[in-house]
Amino acid sequence: MTTENALAVQGLTKSFGGFALRDVTLTLPTGYVMGFVGPNGAGKTTTIKCLLGMLRIDGGTVEVLGRRVDAGAPGPADDVGVVLDRPYYVSDWRLDDVESALRPFYSRWDGDRWSSLLDRFELDRRRKVKDLSRGMGMKLMVAAALSHDARLLVLDEPTSGLDPAARDELLTILSEFLEDEQHSVLFSTHITTDLERIADYVTFIRDGAIVSTGTKDDLLDAYRVVRGGPQDAPPPGTPGFVSTRRHGSGFEALARAEAVRDLPDGVVVEPASLDDIVIHVGRASDGAFDHAEGSL
């Protein structure tokens, strides 16, 4: 079965333990990677739980691989693989037990694939889940997802607490996974460098609301980093300047691309990285739209 969109979320609202998702809308076309970024506590995990049918939504629609998610009537398990920051299996299970537990739930489970993935990831099947390092735990969840031939991988902060080598390995695995054009990935993280290259789409969430969603290139094209001397700083409240940091010898700001024309000579305008955007736009949310620091 082919669907145009791997994920289609429309106007999702959900109040949950003093936190609320407000009108969350995002679309991930089949065959692509969406980075889901935002500070901790912005609503990434709550959104993902709604996608997995773990939370009852208050309003809006959630479609995963063309199927409406409703906590009461879930679709086939095979299609979606989930990778969290730590394994959600019984910690006393050995890896062999994990296979024996999961297998009956998947119609497409491939035992040979499982074995070869454990070998490739150098996971010892006699090890217990609780004795795995962070990186090994991540690979275990990926191995399970690939063994039931998932078409959509949902990763929630998979790289938090991982060393750079393990993060790199995950990117390699995802790149291979995406070689099949029916495969899609939703990757939530607060470490945007993981996404800088591999993501096709980026959705940026903050305080339970979507700040922006679309192709990564469009997001990056929309902003510029601007630096200049003390006299060049834009006056507070200049339209298009998202966040300005003033210091003794000048200023640094994130601005909308259309706002950086007609700046004085000597002002540096550079492309913004995802990190720049997440940090500056996140900071703007604290009400510190324009702030000075370190002046004597």
């Binding site: 065959g31 692509y32 990677v33 990117l171 390699t172 790149s175 291979e176 995406l178 070689e179 099949d180 054009e181 290259r197 591999i198 993501a199 096709d200 789409y201 192709t215 990564k216 290139d217 492309p271």
Partner: protein, 129 residues
């Protein structure tokens, strides 16, 4: 196909890919009818977004260097095709325009510029023999 991308070049990744494929075609390393790696396998190899490789290939097709056949892949077109000629001509014009700008800054007159060009052409021809 050789593609080396830089994260710090300040040039968008799709642009880097496009330029390198173009250079390979013009240098004869890629010949008419050669298949390029699929957008997905190139994205996998370089570990970059599929949208980026797709855009690079789309640009190459628009400039007449390759043709993207739905469901089959991308193939190199003959380097003498009309579009490529136009593209190359544009490159020549761009280069000469840059030279003329420099010449104006240096205060060189028309005759002097032509003399420099003549001289360079001679050196180039000797180099090719």
């Amino acid at each position: 196909m050789r593609v080396v991308i830089s994260n710090t070049a300040g040039v968008p990744l799709y642009e880097q890919i496009k330029e390198q494929v173009k250079a390979a075609i013009l240098a004869g390393e890629l010949r008419e009818g050669d298949a390029l790696p699929s957008v997905r396998s190139l994205a996998k190899d370089l570990r970059i977004s599929v949208i980026t490789t797709t855009r690079a290939y789309a640009d190459l097709a628009r400039e007449g260097f390759v043709t993207n056949v739905q469901g089959k892949g991308s193939f190199v077109l003959p380097a003498s095709s009309e579009l490529v000629r136009e593209q190359l001509l544009r490159d020549v014009e761009d280069g000469l325009t840059a030279a003329l700008t420099a010449a104006r800054v240096a205060g060189l007159g028309r005759d002097e510029v032509v003399a420099v060009l003549d001289q360079l052409l001679t050196i180039h021809e000797e180099g090719n023999q």
